[in-house]
């Protein structure tokens, strides 16, 4: 059975951004796939969800964020139960032929993984979605000041962690 043209357009317009955001939050490709699939199933079965939505990308990022946080909570409980914390995280950045770039990206992915999920979400939306703090606050349903402070704390941690490498390749 074929999907509706609107779902296909939504996928083509927003799936790459949703994938990067979810992969950064979840650090697991299978979980990212499942959340994306659930999201598009929801959109396919309830087209009215998007009726009256002005900012499609923001709306979809919010749905993805809520689903990811829900999964992280459930996964946290499972991992405590089954002691499966030592998983290999999925690669987050594109491969680079330049060895310095490659190391920087690996360390950046590690450093992002050490941020709390709420800071990581804000940092991702600000840096890679280039959203304003107002848009981030609306997407994540948090106050504007909280979005700004989470970004500042997150960026400070990344800078401290990556400073030696950054100074080297600058």
């Amino acid at each position: 059975m074929s999907s509706s043209p609107n779902i296909e357009r939504l996928y083509d317009d927003h799936a790459p951004a949703l994938f990067a955001f979810l992969l950064n939050l979840l650090r697991n490709e299978a979980d990212t796939y499942d959340v994306m699939q659930d999201l598009f199933i929801k959109l396919g079965s309830r087209p009215a969800l998007l009726a009256g939505v002005r900012d499609e990308r923001g709306f979809l990022l919010r749905l993805a964020h809520n689903a990811a946080i829900d999964l992280i909570r459930r996964r946290g409980a499972r991992e405590r139960n089954y002691n499966q914390l030592a998983r290999e995280p999925a690669p987050l950045f594109a491969q680079s032929a330049d060895p310095d770039e490659r190391v920087f990206r690996e360390k950046l992915a590690e450093a992002l993984g050490e941020l709390p999920a709420d800071q990581r979400a804000v940092v991702h939306l600000k840096l890679w979605e280039k959203l304003t703090f107002e848009a981030i606050a609306e997407t994540l349903a948090i106050p504007l000041n909280t979005a700004a402070s989470r970004y500042r704390y997150g960026l400070d941690k990344l800078r401290d962690r990556l400073r030696p490498l950054y100074d080297e390749i600058k």
Binding site: I7, A15, A30, I41, R78, L92, A94
Partner: protein
């Protein structure tokens, strides 16, 4: 320093979305006739081979179905519970 550092981070491209996901996800999102699947989800392709976080856990749909009280098709069946109840009735009567 801050602005330079932010630019350096922004210039790192994220991994691309796997191309084969498009067909799979859009096929799953296509409208289905009612009654075609359990809770609209059971027949959907999942990707456990990608390193799911727990191989021991119940599938998410089963957990959410149980929480909503819809787990009769994924958990011990109605027939099993009825049998257990009948056994207790027999034991009680014999006693």
């Amino acid at each position: 320093m801050n602005a330079d550092f932010e630019k350096q981070l922004q210039s790192q491209p994220m991994r691309e979305l796997p191309r084969d996901w498009r067909a799979e996800i859009l096929a799953a999102a296509a409208p289905r006739p009612s009654g075609h699947t359990m809770n609209g989800r059971a027949a959907l392709p999942r990707r456990p081979e990608l390193g799911r976080s727990s191989s021991f856990a119940l599938p998410d749909y089963a957990i959410s179905g149980l929480i909503r009280g819809e787990g009769s098709s994924t958990w011990p069946s109605l027939r099993a519970w009825a049998g257990l109840a009948a056994a207790w009735v027999v034991i009680f009567l014999l006693h």
